[in-house]
């Protein structure tokens, strides 16, 4: 039996806007300015803030979508989507069961998670060695 067949509406009616989302745009403005001036990246942990689902939708809608949308398969799916403001990324982490476990807005030229990690590259190098040896 799937959860959908249980006739209990577990999700409350859509909560309205709390007014907590607009100040984040000012914060993002300052973070983006810092990225340009100093190259320092930063991020906002959305699950740490009192935002309703409607707030998140509003924010996502205002930031729009950009040219890049990345899907990462690492212990569950993660999506790293560039917004209309280049340098601002909307990052959603899911667990292997598909539930959202963390949500961030990252301000960076490239989110750190997208870069190949030297340790992983070394493993790739070893792998290449092993298949070259089999040639």
């Amino acid at each position: 039996m799937s959860l959908e067949t249980i006739p209990i509406h577990a999700v409350p009616p859509a909560a309205g806007l709390s007014g907590n989302a607009p100040p984040l745009l000012h914060e993002l403005h300052a973070m983006l300015r810092r990225l340009l001036d100093t190259g320092a990246s930063s991020s906002i942990d959305l699950s740490a803030l009192p935002l309703t689902p409607a707030d998140l939708d509003w924010l996502r809608d205002k930031l729009g979508s950009g040219e890049i949308a990345v899907t990462l398969q690492a212990n569950g799916e993660s999506t790293l989507d560039e917004t209309q403001c280049s340098g601002i990324w909307w990052v959603t982490h899911r667990n292997p069961q598909g539930a959202v476990v963390a949500q961030f807005i990252e301000v960076a030229f490239v989110p750190e998670l997208l870069q190949a990690q030297p340790q992983d590259v070394e493993i790739g190098l070893d792998y290449l060695d092993s298949i070259r040896a089999d040639l």
Partner: protein, 359 residues
């Protein structure tokens, strides 16, 4: 056996990138700043496997089940493999003198550095004779193991507060770890059973910052036990609107309204169930339609009936109006009135009967 954590993870096919993601979500769950994820990844990757001695006392093994069967294979489970678990009666292959020798060796080799995990309460009646292992009482073994440890983690409500063994009339004289050990840092991770990720979070914090996380007045990590179930409950809007389920099969129950009047202890229970959930984020008690039992609070077993509503005003609007009429000047009177109410509530506590369940 004592290599860095990241080497063991790599051997199990966990990439550095996956580990970074895991640390970012763990930092978020622990309400640490986003930059802490990076610091955590670096510190944990380089950390040596700490020696852990796990002592089970008066317990049901539910806490062990909760940790070891947390939706496998999770990184939680793998990190749990990464500690050097030198003594755990339920899991270890050794038995008898061999097992006791392993414990003594671990205690000697890692003196002052090992982490002690305790689940179950400690019986003190008739010199602790109610629960003995290898001919020695639990309290005796606990004192010996605690003497050389760096810190103690009290896993589950029994080790944290005495739990069900301590329930009235407490025939074995059960007490918590903190009642016996006074000179070591103790982290309580209550819950019946506790949430697995809290254990990993405490371990990660310990490895990253070399110290135990910030605790509340009941010795629980604030990051996970800072809010009440009620504060973070998705059914909270219904409470605020005054919409309550009155029975388990009425219209309110079918519409997923607030379970306050059916005895939900969410408003006085501090735990992370509402945000972290259970079974890999599938659901949690309130989402499945049953009120919170308050299992992460001291003496939850004796706190009235599970199906008796809490003795606080059910209507927040009426409560606010009453408070406004009383005014600020009458604060003393209010506190006296509350004390009277508290006493009344205490004397009114009743045992749960079948009739309660059918009301």
């Amino acid at each position: 056996m004592q290599g860095p954590l990241i080497d063991s993870l790599t051997r199990q096919g966990i990439t550095r990138r996956t580990f970074l993601k895991y640390c970012a979500t763990l930092a978020s769950m622990m309400a640490l700043p986003p930059t802490a994820g990076r610091a955590m990844a670096e510190a944990m990757a380089a950390a040596k496997r700490p020696s852990v001695i796990w002592l089970p006392f008066q317990e049901c093994t539910g806490c062990t089940e909760s940790i070891t069967r947390s939706h496998s294979p999770t990184i939680e489970g793998m990190i749990f493999d990464m500690i050097s678990l030198d003594y755990q009666e339920t899991l270890m292959a050794a038995a008898g003198f061999q097992a006791e020798e392993a414990r003594h060796n671990a205690m000697k080799e890692n003196a002052g550095k090992y982490l002690l995990i305790v689940d179950g309460s400690i019986p003190l009646a008739i010199d602790g004779a109610y629960s003995c292992i290898g001919g020695r009482s639990n309290v005796d073994i606990l004192k010996e193991a605690a003497a050389g440890c760096a810190a103690i983690v009290a896993m589950g409500s029994c080790a944290s507060y005495g739990g069900i063994p301590k329930a009235n009339p407490n025939p074995t004289g059960a007490v918590s770890v903190a009642d016996v050990i006074k000179d070591k840092p103790i982290v309580n991770i209550p819950g019946c059973p506790p949430i697995p990720v809290v254990m990993t979070g405490v371990l990660a914090h310990y490895l990253t910052f070399g110290a135990l996380p910030e605790l509340d007045d009941k010795g629980r990590p604030k990051a996970f036990f800072g809010d009440t179930i009620h504060d973070r409950c998705y059914r909270r809007p219904f409470y605020d609107q005054g919409k309550f389920a009155k029975t388990f099969d009425d219209e309110g129950a079918r519409n997923g309204w607030c379970l306050f009047e059916l005895g939900c202890k969410g408003p006085v229970t501090h735990n992370a169930c509402a945000t972290v959930k259970w079974n890999g984020g599938t659901s949690w008690p309130v989402e499945s339609g049953h009120g919170c039992l308050g299992c992460s609070e001291p003496d939850f077993w004796d706190a009235g009936g599970f199906y008796k509503a809490l003795s606080t005003p059910a209507d927040p609007l009426r409560f606010a109006a009453a408070a406004a009429v009383v005014g600020a000047g009458a604060g003393v009177a209010v506190s006296f009135a509350n004390r009277a109410k508290k006493d009344a509530a205490k004397t009114a506590h009743e045992t749960t009967t079948l009739a309660d369940l059918e009301k």
